[in-house]
């Protein structure tokens, strides 16, 4: 009895000790930098960034992190300006994004990749403006990321820029593309996710532009998180309405289910997606033959023949266990190179204050032209919106094939 009690005491003491150790370890540990640190003792320009590294949206955050690290390593290996990247987890949550921003600011970031996703991005943009730190977000595409007043697209933050298209631009570009290519289909059905701001953002603009362009929308179906597994009802209604083109402004996960279920019910319209569809070919357990003939508007295709894309794809696959880079990764890679190019041009040094870096970068970004993976002759407006042309690609034999306009 006594012995047992003693043992219990020992165990509880050991447990509480381990608790104390783990607590104090986390409190005192030095911030670990991820990505290429400076080499040869030269001071490095600190680039921060946050995105979902855990949780349901982790695939985007991890792609951005890996690609940004890759870009930083490549740039550092060349010599010249050195960069250091620190990428924090925000779990696609505004609250966590704000604390991640605090961590990055304490670390002393001088420029940033902003956030990967939109809602957290909108929460931290104000802080980037208040503290005068330049941010170039790879993929936070909502207008609220760059504008105070997103309803009227006015009052931009001025130092928060985007590498990706805004959601409205994608909707408008899709509607314009369909107008100029009536052979793809004349009766359009739309299936979108109405609790997702990316999806409903693209949808809203597509719808209004479709009205302007005189496109015939015969069916609109919605789904949300709770019923994102069965689309037979929506597909059946689209089929009954005689739709020969289904517009899918959604991410590739539900899109893969739609393609599978449409195939099962023998419904074969033309499917048309936007950049969220990118990644469908690398989805585990998905029969890529079902994606044959799918059109999508995307700024990047991993199978392009230019040296830049091929190099990037090769290096990324070595790094990420043979995963094919998606558009998020490509945008992040471009972000780092764009920041590096602007830093070179503006003569930014590692010991400059974030505010000075911000002013110099703002000036560079609104005047420079950038060539990268996701577009040639990319420019930015004063408000931070990017200007580049989306490419329409079609999936043929499991690869993207560019479609001539």
């Amino acid at each position: 009895m006594k012995k047992y009690g003693l043992m219990k005491k020992c165990i509880s003491a050991a447990l509480s000790l381990s608790l104390m150790v783990s607590l104090s370890a986390c409190g005192g540990a030095a911030p670990a930098a991820s990505g290429g640190a400076s080499q040869g003792g030269a001071a490095a320009i600190k680039i921060g960034g946050s995105g979902p590294l855990t949780g349901p949206a982790a695939v985007y955050g991890n792609a951005v992190k890996a690609a940004a690290e890759l870009a930083v390593e490549e740039i550092n290996a060349k010599g010249g300006l050195q960069f250091e990247l620190r990428f924090e987890d925000d779990t696609h949550d505004a609250e966590k994004a704000v604390t991640a921003y605090g961590v990055l600011k304490d670390w002393g970031m001088q420029a940033s990749l902003g956030t990967v996703t939109s809602a957290p991005g909108a929460a931290v943009s104000q802080m980037y403006q208040d503290d005068g730190i330049f941010a170039l977000s790879p993929s936070a595409s909502s207008l609220a990321v760059i504008y105070h007043d997103s309803d009227n697209a006015s009052d931009p933050y001025g130092n928060v820029f985007q590498m990706c298209f805004t959601d409205p631009n994608q909707g408008i570009a899709s509607a314009d593309y369909l107008q100029s290519h009536p052979d793809l289909g004349s009766k359009i059905a739309i299936i979108y996710k109405n609790d997702d701001n990316y999806s409903s953002g693209v949808y809203a603009k597509f719808k209004s532009q479709a009205d302007v362009n005189g496109l015939e929308v015969v069916y609109e179906g919605t789904f949300d998180d709770s019923n994102a597994s069965d689309f037979t009802v929506q597909l059946k209604k689209a089929q009954d309405a005689g739709a020969d083109l289904v517009f899918l402004p959604i991410y590739y996960d539900p899109a893969s289910l739609i393609l599978t279920q449409a195939n099962q019910m023998g419904y074969a319209p033309t499917f048309f997606g936007v950049d969220g569809m990118d990644g469908i070919l690398t989805l585990e357990g998905f029969d890529t033959s079902l994606a044959e003939g799918v059109y999508l508007l995307t700024p990047f295709s991993a199978d392009a023949n230019d040296d830049l894309t091929q190099n990037f794809t090769k290096n990324y696959r070595t790094r990420m266990k043979d995963e094919i880079p998606n558009q998020f990764a490509a945008d992040a890679y471009d972000c780092v190179y764009a920041i590096a190019q602007a830093c070179e041009a503006a003569g930014i040094k590692a010991d400059m204050s974030p505010q000075d870096v911000c002013d110099a970068l703002k000036q560079q970004f609104t005047s420079m032209t950038f060539n990268g993976l996701t577009g040639q002759n990319v420019t930015w407006s004063e408000s931070g919106e990017v200007s580049k042309s989306p490419k329409a690609v079609m999936i043929q034999n499991g690869v993207y094939v560019g479609v001539d306009d």
Binding site: S18, L19, G27, E95, V98, V103, S125, D151, N194, S200
Partner: protein
């Protein structure tokens, strides 16, 4: 005289506990405020101050319902959501007419409290008449329903007035108009008017409300209903209205917490207040101790800070967080640890009495 009365002694002990929680929270506030003023507080901690206050208020409210009233509530985040979006809309609508941030914050929090309390009453009246776990089931559903409802709401205003539409966005605002609720995008462009001092005041007020309720006649009735429903009924206590009182106060505190939270971020999405958030708040309450407000505050502070402090662990931080949760759960329920704690406590108190 007082010492001879056993009930008076319990009261005295409890008064000590009550004082302790006020002293602790005031001390913490003063330390944090001093560090912030002198520029010694890192940006990370500064960004955590307000959310910690919000979670503490919501957890204190939940503890009143779960710990004191003995009814399980699985939708505290739903009430936070109601409070948060009401407050954000009120603040957004008043932004032109009420320029003072503090006044707008007070008005918005009051609106948040009222709306959450209203939902509390609506849900409580039918459900609390029943005996059993029905409140848990209904609040669970309530959290989900509120999330879906707000996800489908579009509310905007321009110089011509307010426009509202449901499911499909049919609002068409004149230039210069502002969307208060934008469906799945929630509220964007909210002016950040919450601050740490407001959070601290809210905690103190909620502690005052909860303690005064617990030690009042109604509070004893609430505890009587929890401990023995039949006995309480037999002495003429109206079970439904008694439990409803606790539940409404609990949900209105969640509304206040949500209001403070919503006005601390420039963007707020309905998906933030999901089932996970409800459970998280319940975890703070359970690990802090049912009916123990000081413990709840401590648990909330530790558990909100922990994942942030563990950031240097990179990929392992959620793993460690989970292990710590399990350890706290085991340790707080371990007899040996408890006996030791009581022994330490007794020793301290014995010394005090000896000195006195």
């Amino acid at each position: 005289m007082k010492k001879k009365n056993p009930f008076g002694r319990i009261l005295e002990r409890d008064q000590g506990r009550r004082a302790l929680s006020f002293i602790l929270i005031t001390a913490l506030y003063l330390i944090m405020e001093a560090m912030m003023r002198s520029g010694n507080l890192s940006s990370l901690f500064q960004s955590l101050l307000v959310p910690v206050c919000c979670y503490i208020v919501a957890a204190i409210g939940l503890n009143l319902n779960v710990g004191v009233s003995g009814e399980l509530n699985l939708g505290q985040a739903g009430f936070m959501s109601v409070g948060a979006f009401t407050a954000v809309c009120v603040s957004g609508y008043l932004s032109a007419s009420v320029p003072s941030g503090i006044l707008r914050l007070v008005l918005a929090i009051l609106a948040g409290i009222l709306s959450a309390a209203l939902f509390g009453i609506i849900i409580g009246i039918p459900v609390l008449k029943l005996q059993g776990d029905y409140l848990a089931i209904v609040t669970l559903a309530f959290g989900q329903i509120i999330k879906s409802l707000i996800t489908n709401m579009y509310l905007g205003f321009d110089e011509n007035g307010i426009q509202f539409s449901f499911v499909e966005n049919k609002t068409s605002l004149a230039p210069g108009g502002k969307m208060l609720l934008n469906g799945p995008m929630g509220a964007t462009g909210t002016e950040k008017i919450s601050n740490f001092t407001a959070g601290f005041i809210l905690i103190v007020l909620s502690l005052l409300v909860v303690y005064n309720l617990i030690y009042s006649r109604s509070g004893r009735a609430i505890q009587a209903c929890r401990d023995n429903r039949i006995a309480a009924e037999s002495i003429g206590i109206n079970i439904t209205s008694t439990k409803l009182l606790a539940f409404t106060v609990s949900s209105s505190l969640a509304g206040a917490a949500g209001a403070l939270y919503g006005l601390n971020y420039s963007t707020l999405v309905p998906a933030k207040f999901d089932f996970n958030t409800s459970i998280l708040i319940l975890v703070y309450v359970v690990l802090g101790g049912l009916g123990n407000m000081t413990g709840t505050m401590a648990a909330t502070i530790i558990l909100v800070l922990l994942p942030e402090l563990l950031r240097s662990m990179q990929d392992y931080r959620m793993l460690i967080y989970a292990i710590v949760l399990i350890l706290i759960m085991i340790l707080t329920n371990n007899d040996t640890v408890r006996t030791n704690m009581t022994r330490v406590k007794n020793r301290i108190f014995a010394k005090k009495e000896g000195r006195a």
